[in-house]
Symmetry: C2
């Protein structure tokens, strides 16, 4: 069991990742941006959205399903609004170019938005929110996704489990980061219940007919349920309206599945709303308020003394600090894939 | 039982409401804006956030807890960013001035934000989203609120059940509107379970020690639980960070309770992010996409044939259409209050 992962230094993982993506056809600058997002995901402990993605990204790059040399177009449709065509590039590359464009206009006008089409899976949101926060920007970022969720009360997959993320910088401490999908749980949690022979709460998923179920097997053949029922359904739709519909990308069932059609452009959409907090007050004003805000929450006596209150982003930022110091826990499977892609030497 | 409400014509309710707020000290222009928001809430069927609020607003205006003649300050801190001091005016008045300011900058720069402090309860969010949508703006709007929710895992009230709303216009049909608080259910639903002698799901609320409970009585003495557990907790915090912390308003436990201290300014905060969809394409482009988007969802076969799939805002917009035509169902209690405030004639 001690053999299923290896501790890898952040810098070494960056180098290995960059080599692998260069070998897959990206130039060194683009590869570095992609790897920066994915390694940050691994640092946060979000390994399902980290360098393990070299598998699907690599497969799609190899068969031309993703464009290794995209001509990313940035169009200023209004002073603080940019529309971006990712030209079917690797998601985190298109994401980084979009984030940079949004930060640039937000820095000039106080708030800015990038609406992005022609993209692919862009990793988790929290690495983008972290970069934004490190540059003094609060952020609201979202992406649509392949359809896996039924409309509320419906019985077939017509919307994605679209992620939505927020960040607020703290010049005198840690930012607040929130990165969430709209399902109550991830599919993996239902698979684990099945393995253990346990029932699941009826709020987690429906069977294939759209009826809520406590049977994990039925739920795996059905659909994930959104948080708060119609509330999470509404939130997922609004993310798709901003990320997909307004950006002129695909939306809902128009989004191609990277699993069923890996050779096809997905035309995924994202949105990046950035707010320049430096326009609102001094770094001391913001830092004092952010630290006071966190302290009020952390001071609440815990209902269960073993689980003290936490604030959004705390788990990920603890993990990042720990793994920056002691190395990243990387699965050997991912390490092998990286080595296969990266030329030795 | 037929006597506990009266059907009132929209125009008559507007007139009566304006008279009542003028008698409470507002000038006619300000009263009209306040009443427009509250009557729209009643049209949507959101009577708890409609003209019934004349009770608490009126009480606080009468004792000087709300300022009837606020000097609302609009400061342009960056080209597309305004900071607003509501000077403790009536919430929907401060809300309307903020919305107008945000629409003005968004119309010029593509996106705009108003960050508002010194405000009070501003009604539901959907009336603002509707006005924005009617003017071609997509919107993300939020407000903080008096603390009624414990931090996730905590055991005392330190955050509000902060509402968050979204809207996307449809030039060829109905907009999408989403207006949600972060609790799984409203407190009224727990009160109803208690009346019927029923248990509640353990996801609705905790007892006074912060432990999830199925006993409605214990839950009414405890705290509402947020949707998706830590996800809804995170969302509620992010709304407060944008609406309260960044706007320089009060936040978390610094927000004064309008119930416990009706004579004190609450210093509530809001944020209004507006996106000008007219910069993104023609009205036909947007209308076609919005109608296609809705149709994809509505075409999903319902899991239960008695409950067809709906889209966010549909219930409220149906109700608005119906009540515009046939009159608004207003509780006699609210009607009496309005008549008490409004001079006869």
């Amino acid at each position: 069991m001690s053999n299923d992962f290896t501790i890898v230094n952040e810098g070494d993982l960056m180098d290995l990742g960059i080599k692998a993506f260069c070998k897959l056809g990206l130039n060194a600058t683009d590869a570095k941006d992609v790897v920066r997002i994915l390694v940050t995901a691994d640092l946060f402990g979000l390994s399902t959205h980290g360098m393990s993605r070299i598998e699907s990204y690599g497969e799609r790059l190899a068969i031309g399903g993703i464009n290794a040399h995209p001509n990313i177009q940035i169009e200023h449709v209004a002073p603080a609004m940019v529309r971006i065509d990712g030209d079917n590039g690797v998601g985190p590359l298109v994401g980084m170019r979009s984030l940079e464009a949004a930060m640039q206009v937000a820095g000039e006008f106080g708030i800015g938005i990038a609406l992005t089409r022609g993209s692919n899976h862009f990793g988790p949101i929290s690495p983008y929110s972290l970069i934004a926060a490190e540059n003094g920007f609060a952020s609201i970022i979202g992406s649509n996704a392949t359809t896996t969720i039924a409309p509320w009360g419906g019985s077939d997959a017509r919307l994605g489990n679209s992620p939505l993320g927020f960040g607020v910088p703290n010049p005198d401490g840690r930012p607040f980061l929130l990165d969430m999908a709209m399902s109550v749980v991830a599919r993996a949690k239902i698979r684990n219940a099945l393995k253990r022979g346990e029932q699941i709460p009826s709020t987690w998923g429906t069977d294939a007919q759209g009826v809520p179920t406590t049977d994990p097997k039925a739920a795996l053949n059905g659909f994930l349920l959104p948080i708060g029922g119609h509330k999470g359904y509404g939130l997922a739709l609004l993310v798709d309206l901003f990320a997909g519909l307004l950006s002129n990308a695909a939306y809902l069932t128009h989004v191609k599945s990277w699993q069923d059609a890996p050779d096809q452009p997905q035309n995924l959409g994202h949105f990046f709303i950035l707010i320049d907090t430096k326009k609102l007050g001094s770094t001391q004003w913001l830092g004092d308020r952010m630290n006071d805000f966190a302290q009020i929450l952390l001071d609440s006596p815990p209902a269960n003394s073993e689980n003290p209150v936490i604030v959004p982003g705390m788990i990920e930022l603890n993990k990042l600090e720990e793994q920056r110091n002691s190395g990243i826990r990387l699965s050997n499977e991912t390490l092998e894939l990286l080595k296969q892609h990266a030329p030795a030497g």
